[in-house]
Amino acid sequence: MPIPIVDISDDDFLFRRLSPVGHLNPDGTVNSNAFKRNGRPDPEVSVDLSTLTSVREALSRAPNPTFKIGILQARDARSLGLQVRHLPTDDDPAHSIIEGNQSKANCKLLAEKTWLAAI
């Protein structure tokens, strides 16, 4: 049975899995590399929609328990001219994507808008 597509409002939160050894700066802030893939700005950033999951559930999909969850608001991504939409998969009904990320500057700005979930 197909998973219904939901609208994502500007106020909705998005969860991004972060590697503690790779995506964080020495001061604990999020590095722009969290929004890059294959050395380029990731044009289709995978996130989870907060209304359909929880931080703990999003973390459970990480390879190990040291991973963190970064949180940003759909509004912040859209303010950069990016699109945010729900794109569920069989394994992850909350899966969503941030589309249109084509510049290093956007990667940096997305990182600056992202904060770490405390659990």
Partner: protein, 188 residues
């Protein structure tokens, strides 16, 4: 035991357990805040000195030498990252990327420490998906992120200023000479 100021020290060489420096012959010693012990038998420079005392815990973050050592250790760690470090099946940074990053860091520290001091030391070193690396320098409102591809190719993002007046400039396939020049300008 001799005490040397930051401004007296040019060109670093940091090994796993020691840190060596060449001392500028032009600068009068002012006995500021770093304490080092003179090598009994300097190897490549007449005035090479080596770190002999751990700074106190609270001073480590402020000590540029220890920050540099930390960054170089961080670079070594990059080589030991396992596959799938990012949960998206990425390989760890390639040998070519790590080698290029190490050379670049020494270029910036070697050429920039005299004028920019601790700003010549990277703010962060992180892997990038696709077996690359990213090294960032910060100075006031400016920052420059240097991307090093798995094949050693270079790109950058230069951010200047704050708020509505903030400006970004970015490019790929940049020469090392251009990147060093730009980074030195950003941190000076």
């Amino acid at each position: 035991m001799n005490t040397y100021s930051n401004s007296e020290l040019i060109s670093f060489r940091v090994e796993r357990t020691t840190a060596g420096f060449a001392q500028s012959p032009d600068i009068v010693r002012d006995h500021r805040n770093l304490t080092y012990q003179q090598l009994e038998a300097p190897t490549t420079h007449d005035n090479v000195i080596v770190l002999s005392e751990l700074p106190s815990e609270e001073n480590i973050q402020a000590d540029p030498v220890w920050r540099l050592r930390g960054m170089l250790e961080r670079l070594n760690e990059m080589e030991r990252l396992g596959r799938n470090w990012d949960s998206y099946a990425s390989d760890p940074p390639s040998v070519a990327a790590v080698t290029r990053a190490r050379a670049l860091i020494w270029d910036i520290v070697g050429q920039g420490f005299g004028s920019a001091g601790a700003r010549s030391i990277p703010f962060s070193i992180v892997p990038v998906s696709g077996a690359g690396l990213q090294v960032e320098w910060r100075a006031g409102g400016d920052s420059i992120e240097v991307e090093i591809g798995s094949d050693g190719s270079l790109g950058f993002l230069h951010s200047r200023g704050h708020g509505p007046n903030r400006e970004f400039e970015e490019a790929d396939d940049v020469s090392e000479h251009e990147l060093v020049r730009r980074t030195l300008a950003a941190i000076s």
